[in-house]
């Protein structure tokens, strides 16, 4: 769930948004939270069952008055709305085929668009379509959230053998500016740090933003 999408597309009150490719509805829910109570969301899903499930969930979560779900193929049939959207979000396999409809759905005075695609080829086609349709400020980026695991790690100190002068492990520990773990034969120091996970999600998709200028 990428929050950048919301800020980049200026979601706030009185905003009419369109999410094409409802899917699980998680993005739709996030947008609904942002535009309630005065905005409205139109979302389109071409898979009948998913569209049905989404409608049901919006009802369960008491937000159906804020959202309209349509079950159709946007590339063939359009969005179902004209000149009323402030922002459009495309999460479909062929977003470049929906650019014309997106332009038509957006308000005359302009609006923002965002397209999410996992493959760079899709991005290229989409950018080309956006350019040809007169969109501006076309910008493609990748954003990844990294989690840091906060933990204490205990690092043992080396034993260089007995020294002539009085330096001992206490000295070593204080050299390192760390507290020494007491009462152990081989002393250690404790570091409070944050480590990255062994593996992390390295890619979900590219985000392409654009502005539809005033007609």
């Amino acid at each position: 769930m990428n929050p950048l999408k919301a800020v980049e597309r200026a979601h706030t009150q009185h905003t009419l948004c369109s999410v094409i490719g409802t899917g699980s509805g998680s993005l739709s829910h996030s947008i609904l939270r942002t535009i309630a109570p005065t905005g409205h969301l139109h979302t389109v899903e071409f898979h009948a069952q998913r569209a049905e499930k989404a409608t049901q969930e919006f009802k369960e979560h008491k937000v159906s008055h804020l959202v309209t779900v349509r079950n159709q193929d946007v590339c063939a049939e359009g969005f179902g709305i004209t000149g009323v959207a402030d922002a459009v979000f495309l999460d479909i396999p062929s977003p470049w085929e929906a650019v014309t409809h997106a332009k038509r759905a957006l308000k005359r005075k302009g609006g923002r668009l965002c397209s999410f695609s996992p493959c760079i080829e899709q991005v290229q086609r989409t950018c080309e379509a956006l350019l040809n349709h007169g969109f501006e400020e076309i910008c493609t980026l990748e954003v990844l959230l990294r989690v840091h695991d906060v933990r204490s790690v205990t690092l043992p100190l080396p034993d260089f053998g007995p020294e002539e002068c009085c330096t001992n492990s206490t000295q070593m520990a204080s050299d390192l500016n760390q507290e020494e773990v007491p009462n152990t034969g081989n002393t250690s120091v404790i570091c409070r740090t944050a480590t990255p996970p062994r593996e992390m999600a390295g890619h979900t998709g590219y985000l392409t933003f654009a502005t539809k200028p005033r007609d």
Binding site: P3, A6, E8, I81, K107, K109, E128, E142, R151, T154
Partner: protein
């Protein structure tokens, strides 16, 4: 078919007093439209008067004399001539002499009134190597020259996006180097939405405050905690919110937090004379003295009436009236301030805020521990810090103290791409970092204490091994279980 209420063009026309964002290429600047005021932007100066009455999103060109003229909408096919192109750069020698126009020549062209596009065409015509460049190189050259010589400015309606990009590009120090995607995360992790009561403590010139207010759309309330003299609002003003938004905004000084928590905050009304003994609201001491003095001086002129010039008498009376007037004004202002403090205190007292956002240059740990007390249980909080270690400390403290779960320390990796046919690749320069966020959810503290038998941070396997190494392992094990 759903209609959106606010689509009339009358809404989008620019007026005197409006805050706008000027855009030229990727550079933004926030200004207020004022009568005959000179604005400097991107090494050019001009007056904004001609934007009044125009619609947001209009592009302007700067005419001689500094007036702005609306420019006709450019169509996509507006490219410059490039008839021939080379195959590669093997024979192109970069001796710095391929451009025949000198800087003076270009200045002359500018003075003659040549528009940006025409100047670029001149540069192309006078470049010996242009025709040998590959098509890609030609496009890159044109783009570069356009950026330099086309001075069109677009006037936009402010938004969190534009202002965040502006501050991050121009004055990142003012916003603690908060990158715009991190700001977006703050709004989401904090679950900022209409109708909630959010506490904000920020030293980001008001950008974070404005973004929170924008998200809330005028519903709910925002309490801005501020250090020192007064709240910083400049960045927030740049959003150009309608006046009713300001009614949802309250402020409360940090230095009174302890008093509020202890229940000893003095909010009672006082009259002008005894205010010197009352709570020290910032800057009120000086005014108290003046009002005290003016009370005294009232009686003076009467005793000094002996043989005084009538004109002098008039002037003195006038001065008296002025002093009294000013004293009265100060009294009203102080009363207003007291009322504001009381209303903010009332909102905070219940300790039932819905969210907490911290983004400041202060050490976040004490700030967080102090302000968390005002949050209801099961509510989100987000702390931004430019650096990681202070947030590690916060995390550790919260673990020890309890009262919060789902703690997450995150940061965001951001990369821009150039997408062009056969020239798609990530952009050369990338942001090194956008700051760190610690987020979590509050829980009721009595429940938290029971849950707070904290286990080892390290994975189990490592712990066992350490136990093997040191036979008298009590110390180690104890130390581990402490943190």
């Amino acid at each position: 078919m759903a209609e959106c209420v606010n689509d009339s063009d009358a809404e989008s026309a620019i007026n005197y007093g409006d805050y706008v964002v000027l855009k030229r290429g990727d550079v933004f600047k926030s200004v207020q439209v004022e009568n005959k005021k000179k604005v400097i932007f991107e090494k050019q100066w001009f007056f904004l008067d001609n934007v009044v009455g125009q619609l947001y999103g209009t592009m302007f060109e700067i005419e001689a004399g500094g007036s702005l003229k609306p420019k006709a909408v450019k169509r996509a096919g507006d490219s410059l001539d490039s008839k021939e192109a080379g195959q590669d750069n093997r024979h192109i020698v970069d001796d710095g002499r391929s451009q025949k126009l000198t800087r003076d020549d270009i200045e002359t062209l500018k003075e003659q009134g040549l528009k940006g596009q025409e100047i670029v065409q001149q540069l192309i015509d006078n470049s010996t190597t242009f025709k040998d460049k590959t098509e890609f190189a030609q496009a890159k050259y044109i783009k570069k020259k356009k950026k330099k010589y086309e001075s069109d400015i677009t006037v936009l309606k402010p938004s969190a996006r534009l202002l965040a990009m502006m501050y991050h590009g121009r004055e990142p120090g003012k916003i603690c180097h908060l990158r715009y995607d991190t700001l977006a995360q703050i709004l989401t992790l904090g679950n900022i939405h209409a109708g909630s009561k959010i506490i904000v403590f920020e030293t980001c010139a008001g950008l974070v405050l404005g973004s929170v207010m924008e998200r809330m759309g005028g519903f709910g309330s925002v309490i801005q905690m501020y250090p020192g003299g007064g709240p910083t609002r400049a960045g927030m003003e740049s959003f150009g919110f309608p006046s009713h938004f300001h009614e949802t905004l309250h402020d409360f000084p940090l230095c009174k937090v302890n008093a509020l928590l202890a229940g000893t905050l003095d909010l009672t009304e006082k009259d002008a004379d005894s205010q010197a003994n009352g709570s020290r609201i910032g800057g009120s001491d000086a005014s108290q003295e003046t009002s005290g003095v003016s009370e005294e001086k009232k009686s003076e002129p009467k005793s000094m009436e002996v043989s005084v010039d009538p004109q002098e008498e008039v002037r003195r009376a006038e001065r008296e009236r002025l002093r009294e007037h000013r004293a009265q004004e100060k009294k009203v202002k102080l009363e207003e301030k007291r009322k504001k403090l009381a209303s903010a205190a009332a909102l905070l007292e219940g300790r039932n805020a819905d969210g907490l956002v911290i983004a400041c240059r202060f050490h976040p740990c004490p700030v967080l521990m102090g302000l968390l007390k005002f949050l209801a249980p099961s509510r989100p909080f987000v702390v931004y810090c430019q650096y990681r270690e202070p947030l590690i400390e916060c995390y550790t403290k919260l673990r020890e103290q309890g009262g919060a779960i789902s703690l997450r320390l995150t940061d965001s990796w951001l990369r821009h791409y150039q997408v062009l046919p056969n020239r798609t690749h990530p952009v050369l320069l990338m942001s090194g970092g956008g700051g760190y966020l610690l987020s979590g959810t509050t829980v009721a503290t009595d429940a938290a204490k029971a849950r707070n038998q904290h286990k080892s941070e390290e994975p189990a396997a490592k712990r066992l091994k350490l136990d093997e190494i040191s036979s008298s392992c009590d110390g180690t094990a104890k130390a581990i279980s402490l943190v």
